[in-house]
């Protein structure tokens, strides 16, 4: 009987400790869950806010007039116009142009880094590419404004060089780093046996890279493209400085206004319906980027399944 007492005490203590441990476990789990929910919360709050503040202007202007109108003149005192088609087309063309220039360049660079370059040179170049990724977008804009814009003006004999072309070039340089690093990772993941088999069958190295390695890394490269599209369509600061910011229908050598630069440039002084229309532009841009993200996820998923 007397021996039993300490035994029960010990048992009690152990049980208490275990219970305490379990409680801490539960609490921590709840904390982790809450942290996870915060991210979802942010996305939800932003989406709901954008939808709530973006809908009224679209309703007032009319969806068709808003999306398909070709005239953007919100501060006009007699007949304000709120058509954003020029900006939608500019954003699409600008992004497409950046992809057309940036993707081939980035892909070839990735092939070089992954397959051709000597290891030491590749290491140096990789560092430089990382550095390129770290340059703030406003610096890209600044260099574009000081070098590219006067250059384009001189070259084409224009009154001013701010144009879609300048924006496309700046965007192409800006998306290079992500395209290079994502495609290089994809190329590195191609099993060596594929390439060795190709070489053993008598294919040259070039043939091997383009006919075997690249197709094998196809979905990774596609992911790089989608990533580049996402970065290009969301960029505002750099192109605000080189695009000229007049809402013309886009053509390569005229001043243009992107969806992003409309918001960034006009929010400061906008009032009433103009301000609300800027929120609506934000909503349109948000939907664009959601679509691109969905596409990116699709590619990444397929990539995983493929491997």
């Amino acid at each position: 009987m007397t021996e039993n007492k300490p035994q029960t005490l010990k048992n009690l203590a152990a049980r208490l400790l275990r219970a305490l441990g379990a409680a801490v476990e539960q609490i921590m789990r709840a904390v982790f869950l809450l942290c996870g929910l915060v991210a979802i919360g942010f996305v939800l709050v932003i989406s709901v806010y954008l939808i709530i503040s973006g809908i009224p202007a679209i309703r007032e202007i009319g969806l068709a007039d808003f999306l398909l109108g070709t005239n953007w003149d919100p501060a006009n005192k007699t007949a304000p116009a709120y058509g954003i088609l020029p900006m939608i087309l500019t954003s699409v063309y600008g992004t497409a142009g950046a992809i057309v220039i940036g993707v081939p360049l980035g892909f070839l660079m990735a092939v070089f880094l992954s397959k051709v370059a000597p290891r030491r040179a590749a290491a140096v170049i990789r560092e430089v590419v990382d550095l390129l990724a770290g340059i703030p977008s406003v610096v890209y804009g600044l260099v574009g404004m000081m070098v590219l814009v006067p250059g384009i003006r001189e070259l084409f004999g224009l009154p001013a060089g701010d144009s879609l072309l300048a924006a496309v070039i700046v965007l192409a340089v800006m998306i290079l780093p992500s395209i290079i690093s994502v495609s290089e990772t994809a190329l590195n993941a191609v099993p060596r046996e594929y390439e060795e088999a190709s070489l053993a069958l008598g294919a040259t190295e070039l043939e091997t890279y383009f006919r075997v390695s690249a197709p094998a890394a196809k979905s990774g490269i596609a992911a790089a493209v989608v990533l580049g599209v996402g970065r290009a369509i969301g960029e505002a600061m750099a192109i605000l400085m080189v695009a000229g910011n007049v809402a013309n229908m886009p053509s390569l050598l005229t001043s243009v206004k992107f969806l992003t630069t409309a918001i960034a440039g006009e929010m400061g002084y906008a009032g009433d319906l103009h301000r609300q229309a800027l929120f609506s532009i934000g909503l349109v841009l948000f939907l664009f980027i959601m679509l691109i993200n969905a596409a990116l996820n699709l590619f990444l998923k397929r990539n995983k399944e493929g491997n």
Binding site: D73, S255, G271
Partner: protein
């Protein structure tokens, strides 16, 4: 950690929102009682002791006067710390209407009052003048344009500098973004409202100056106080823009900053003190720092 941070941020934002909403109603309520309570202690407001004045002054109107009003508010806070000056930027028209309807103490207008408005009892108190300079690249040989020529350039009727006596080069017309106060002032005074064919639009005065400075084909406009020697300011109708020519009215592209009061309506002591302060010669530096030319120095 993240969550607490977000909670704190959210709380701060909510408080900010509520404060923003409360501001106008809160200030409107004591406004009616303030004059009665302060009246006995300051019988003659224009006499030596403005510190004795307390109360709230609600001003409403021109968004272009934002900088000047903020500067005056700050300066007045040092002279009369017990007076709260509220400024709402809702546009000149709304400001004039507001003071006529009695919904604010002082209306703010960045244009001269119309005869119609004057006949309704609105009184013009010009506190400052805002000059807009037309700037070109220093390499450009053009020095003098008429208001009409400027209008033709900005509407796209004249597209080459040779038509204006300059080199054979296309004109790049630079302006400010939609909604900018400088843009509306310039377009209004030159008479090219909503008719401008801009080559480029920039969202700040500095951008306009910088781009005009780097482009030999460029013409742009900027608030007079922002013009530096990287660009040259054109003479308009033969008059070079300067503080003096703006003040004596000979430089054409200018507009007044007006504080509007109502004839016959008595101002509260606080409002009167603020108006006297804004009209006094001592605020010339404050107004100049805010980018305009004092009308009373």
């Amino acid at each position: 950690m993240k969550r607490t941070l977000s909670l704190v941020l959210t709380a701060v934002m909510c408080v900010g929102l509520l404060a923003g909403c409360g501001g106008s109603t809160e200030s409107a309520a004591p406004e009616s009682t303030a004059p009665e309570s302060t009246a006995p202690e300051s019988v003659a407001p224009e006499s030596s002791a403005p510190e004795a004045v307390s109360g709230i002054v609600n001003t409403n109107g021109s968004t272009s006067m934002n900088d000047v009003m903020l500067a005056l508010k700050e300066g007045f806070g040092e002279v009369a710390p017990d007076v709260t000056v509220n400024y709402t930027g809702s546009g000149s028209g709304a400001g004039i209407e507001g003071v006529l309807a009695g919904s604010c103490d002082l209306g703010l207008s960045s244009r001269a009052l119309s005869d119609d408005e004057k006949s309704q009892g609105a009184v013009e108190n010009i506190i400052a003048l805002d000059g807009v300079a037309v700037v070109i690249n220093p390499e450009n040989t053009v020095t003098d344009l008429t208001l009409e020529q400027i209008a033709q350039v900005f509407t796209g009727e004249i597209t080459n500098w040779s038509e204006l006596g300059g080199a054979d080069a296309p004109i790049a017309v630079f302006g400010r973004e939609n909604g900018s106060g400088t843009r509306s002032a310039f377009e209004e005074i030159v008479g090219v409202e909503d008719a401008c064919a801009y080559t480029n639009e920039y969202s700040s005065t500095g951008d306009v100056i910088g781009n005009v400075a780097s482009n030999p084909n460029a013409i742009g406009y900027a608030s007079l106080s922002a013009v530096d020697d990287t660009v040259s300011a054109l003479m308009v109708n033969g008059v070079a823009p300067s503080e003096d020519t703006v003040k004596d009215g000979s430089y054409a592209i200018q507009r007044p900053f007006v504080v509007v009061t109502v004839e016959g309506a008595e101002l509260s002591d606080a409002a009167k003190a603020f108006l006297d302060y804004a009209m006094s010669a001592e605020v010339a530096d404050i107004i100049a720092a805010a980018g305009a030319v004092s009308a009373n120095a």
